[in-house]
Symmetry: C2
Subunit: 613 residues, 2 copies
């Protein structure tokens, strides 16, 4: 550790110590594991959502599965391309918040931030409940304990993330690889079959296909498209968390983003092809992914492996929020929209307060929803689409201000993406309004209002502190140090020594309550004090009520009133116990006095910890 | 509030301000309500306990109810007389602890204290569960929620006692009067009947009388006596809490004690007479008191009133512990057997820490026993008998040392009482050993060991503090004040002013972490500092890991090592927010620095709270 003194008037030389936090940051691969699980896991419910909507139009409607999925894959490509540019343009992270703040104004950036925050929090709750729901459908005996299971999974993920994002990523690489690998193998094997290997799982369950087929209209296709867009949640996370990558940050993040898009697109389209090939129909109580696994592999160990990997990945996809949200909270804190504690970084690149805040709010959501998926899912995905739309509109503006080649094409691409996601946002909100989307419509403005309130408070505090202005010169005042004493010991001697070093005048005070024991003790103290003769007066403060701190605070106020040019300091001596349990033996008088003085006066409070010799 | 200065050498004049805490203390009547509910409530289960044991000998055994009860009443009279003397001899309270400490040695006094503590705590748990059990037998639908009901009742009693013992007493006078009144009326009315008015409640329940009557032997009578002695728990409480009474304390406490003995004795004997008169037999599921109420009043509103009053009084008899235990804890703390916090008194004569400690331990017991009476009752009453025995043996010693008239008679009385309660203690422990009394046999020595450990620690601390010896004279050392700064504002100016007033030399330090943002901010600070030129050097401390407090603590250690005759002080400035919620906006740096400095150095830590202008 080096020390460099800056004398007034000297110019400091520039030092560039190596940033040794790099090994706690992410590579492209670990970045995928830390931040993309949300998007990956949506292959478990994305195709299912599409198929469920199309099933309302009977078998004819189901025929549109592949086209709708291709449209979603197209939108995915547009989004990945957009965010690749966002990463390059905003290497400090923040995703749509950063884009909006630069190009669309303050209010819009807050709306983007609020929608991201809401969605990250909901993602944790939905992911954990979905994973546990998958577990309890395999083991129905656990159904009653699902809330405790959810909280346990949440605690596990929180603990891993408190150790650090790189640690969480390493921990989660294996399940990701297993899941992605098994789905890709599923697709390849299925392409070589002409008929399902087995339909055992779906047998005996009620079909979800409607009997009276409604016509396949634009509205139905739009709804299917919007439902399937839930597969796109989580694409933003990598762009939010660019600072968490190793140098060169932008390139690694871009690589991770493109890899995510590629893998996700292949999985979605591949599964959709298989759905068409096998003429799969949605069934109550069995997921489409389960049916596909069975159709490709047959009802054997591979089928169960896919189920198990899906369950684990669903639960772990909460990790995306833990990767993306704390960085966003830090940016908001840096811009004074959130308390500055969220910008504090502890060791190992962990945004501890952000992680803990997310864990607490998610736990509250879990308890409130009782571990039940159906309560939370309708709220999901709206916030992310709002974020997508704002980001791409911002990027359109970005390209208008740029001068490089191909900017018209890029702007058009972003405009198209913005249009598509905007439509998706509106459709999802409208279709899920009664089921709970109204909560989002209320919560979002409330969150924005909270950001504005915090911002106003900081601006006001900054003004009153005179931040940015050169303040008055410091000057020296006469100081009086007041030392509360209750008995005569080495501690008293040490306290008076410290006080004499700090102040021009020292006064010892002792509080006497109208209790015979107390009065006797005080008389004894005064006699010993007179014998000791330390050169410091002992002042007796009486009190009517049995309080310790108030008389001292009142005395401090009296001194300040009678001698205005004096700075009053209260020195509170305490022993430092040898062993930790002995803290219980301390009688808390110091804390009582400090509390009263802090609340009622402006005196400086000094705590002296005396280690017993 | 008056201030009296004691200059060294002057003799202080004696002041005797009126003790205005009197109105928060107890009169004889309110003393009964606050401290005797335990004893009063035992008429609900005392006669029942006797009758249940005697029923093993059939109807013949039941005939011995009245003689056994008269014996218990006689022991009650002896106890009341003893404790009347204890109150006079030990007006500081403490009951058997005080007696033992003066006359029987330290170890015995700790055994007395430990047994009292255990029994007070158990009393709370048993009383609350018994009251709630009475409630749930009237309303069986509440049975599943009984643990929450117990905790709610505990919270209510704790809250009332936190307001003050006099307040609790006033709150509980009414139920006491209703209960005592109804029982007395029950006895009077019953004496005028020759046969039970109704036996409706007992009909349909299985009789608890044994078919094959065993002979009525001495052992059976002893067991019945010992069981009935559970009615005597709570007689000690008034003697424990003498300081809580108004002046003249001794006379008021004695009046309350005698009143308690009289009322309790009349109730016990009266109920016993009625049991014999009506030839009552114990029945599963209906209490003896219920049967008596029905026999006297008939199955009408008066019957239900007695039930209801019993239920309330059982629950409230926990209040006795809240009255007696905190005073005992205070005495133990004063003698250094418990942490001194228990001796702290807040406003209104409330021993806050004692009340809270009792509430917490009782809540733990309740949760552990699941709100189930049967788990806890076997442990009950052993501690109190140990206390009774120790107290009376001590009083025998007391009279041997006295010179007054009639001391032989008084000593003989106490000796008899000691013998009787000693026998009761042994019998109860032996009969309930397997059911849980072994827990007490283990817990008591553990508690005594804990007291000794605390005492040893205090003695050691006192030696190292040099308590009782005249310490060194204080002297003045050169002081260096270190002020951590991160930005330039009014706060910085104020901090440097305070530091200049406190120290001979002031140094400002700023921690620079290897982060580009941090380095830029520090450069800006150093430039502004050079412009400002406050006359105080700004020292840059670098750190490798992202911590704020460690570099400052390391610098403090370096200064102390290089300049040994200097006292180093760290001044931490913080803004005092206008509104309470704005405390969330503070960035916790001050706390981080203070924590690191406190843990790693011996420097004095000063906190400056700056109210924004």
């Amino acid at each position: 550790m080096s020390v460099l003194t800056t004398e007034p008037g000297a110019t400091p030389t520039d030092e560039e110590p190596p940033d040794s936090g790099e090994r706690h940051r992410l590579t492209a691969i670990t970045g995928l594991a830390a931040l993309s699980l949300d998007a990956m896991a949506s292959v478990a419910y994305g195709p299912e959502a599409i198929v469920l909507v199309l099933a309302a139009a009977g078998a004819h409607g189901l025929g549109f599965t592949l086209p709708v999925t291709l449209a979603i894959a197209g939108l995915l490509a547009v989004l990945v391309a957009s965010y690749r540019q966002v990463i390059a343009a905003f290497p400090d992270g923040g995703g749509s918040y950063a884009v909006a703040r630069t190009h669309l104004g303050r209010r819009t950036s807050l709306v983007a931030a609020a929608s991201l925050v809401l969605d990250y929090v909901l993602n944790v709750a939905v992911a954990v409940t979905a994973g546990v729901a998958a577990l309890t459908s395999a083991f129905p005996a656990l159904h009653d304990d699902r809330l405790w299971l959810c909280l346990a999974v949440l605690a596990l993920i929180t603990a891993v993330n408190l150790r650090g994002i790189a640690e969480s990523a390493k921990a989660f690489v294996a399940p990701t690889v297993v899941f992605v690998g098994s789905v890709l193998v599923l697709i390849v094997v299925g392409l070589f079959r002409s008929a399902p290997a087995s339909t055992q799982a779906a047998a005996g369950h009620a079909s979800a296909v409607a009997d009276n087929a409604t016509a396949v209209g634009t509205l139905l296709l739009l709804k299917a498209f919007a439902s399937g867009c839930s597969a796109l949640t989580g694409v933003e996370a990598i762009a939010n968390a660019v600072p968490s990558f190793r140098v060169p940050r932008v390139q690694r993040a871009q690589r991770a983003e493109v890899a995510l898009g590629a893998v996700l697109g292949v999985m979605l389209v591949g599964l959709s092809v298989l759905i068409s090939r096998f003429h799969l129909q949605p069934v109550d109580g069995v997921t489409v992914l389960a049916q596909l696994a069975e159709a490709s592999f047959g009802h054997n160990w591979a089928f169960y492996l896919v189920q198990f990997a899906t369950m684990i990945l669903l639960a772990l996809s909460a990790n995306t929020s833990f990767g993306g949200l704390p960085v966003l909270l830090k940016l908001l804190a840096r811009d004074n929209y959130l308390p500055h504690v969220f910008a504090l970084k502890a060791d190992r690149q962990v945004h501890r307060h952000g992680v803990l805040a997310l864990a607490v709010v998610s736990a509250a959501l879990l308890v409130f929803s009782g571990g039940d998926t159906n309560t939370l899912v309708p709220l999901f995905a709206i916030g992310v689409f709002v974020g997508f739309t704002i980001a791409q509109v911002g990027m359109v503006r970005h390209w208008r201000l740029e001068r490089g080649p191909g900017r018209r094409g890029k702007a058009a691409l972003n405009g198209l993406g913005a249009g598509l996601t905007g439509v998706a946002a509106v459709v999802v909100t409208a279709t899920k309004f009664a089921q709970g989307a109204w909560l989002i419509v209320i919560a979002l403005p409330l969150l924005v209002a909270a950001f504005e309130t915090v911002h106003r408070a900081y601006v006001r505090i900054g003004e009153r502190l005179g931040l940015g202005r050169v303040p008055e010169h410091p000057h020296r005042e006469r100081s009086v140090v007041i030392v509360p004493v209750s008995s005569l010991s080495r501690l008293t001697s040490e306290a008076l020594t410290a006080a004499a070093s700090l102040g021009d005048e020292v006064r010892a005070v002792s509080v006497c309550c109208p209790d015979p024991e107390d009065r006797a003790a005080l008389h004894a103290l005064e006699r010993s004090w007179a014998e000791w003769d330390p050169g410091v007066p002992l002042i007796r403060l009486t009190c009517e009520r049995r309080s310790l701190g108030r008389p001292i605070a009142a005395y401090v106020r009296a001194v300040t009133a009678s001698e205005p040019a004096t700075r009053v300091t209260v020195l509170i001596p305490e022993t430092e116990p040898e062993r930790v349990w002995q803290r219980l033996l301390q009688n808390q008088r110091g804390a009582v006095v400090a509390h009263a003085v802090r609340r009622e006066t402006d005196a400086v409070i000094c705590r002296l910890r005396f280690r017993l010799p």
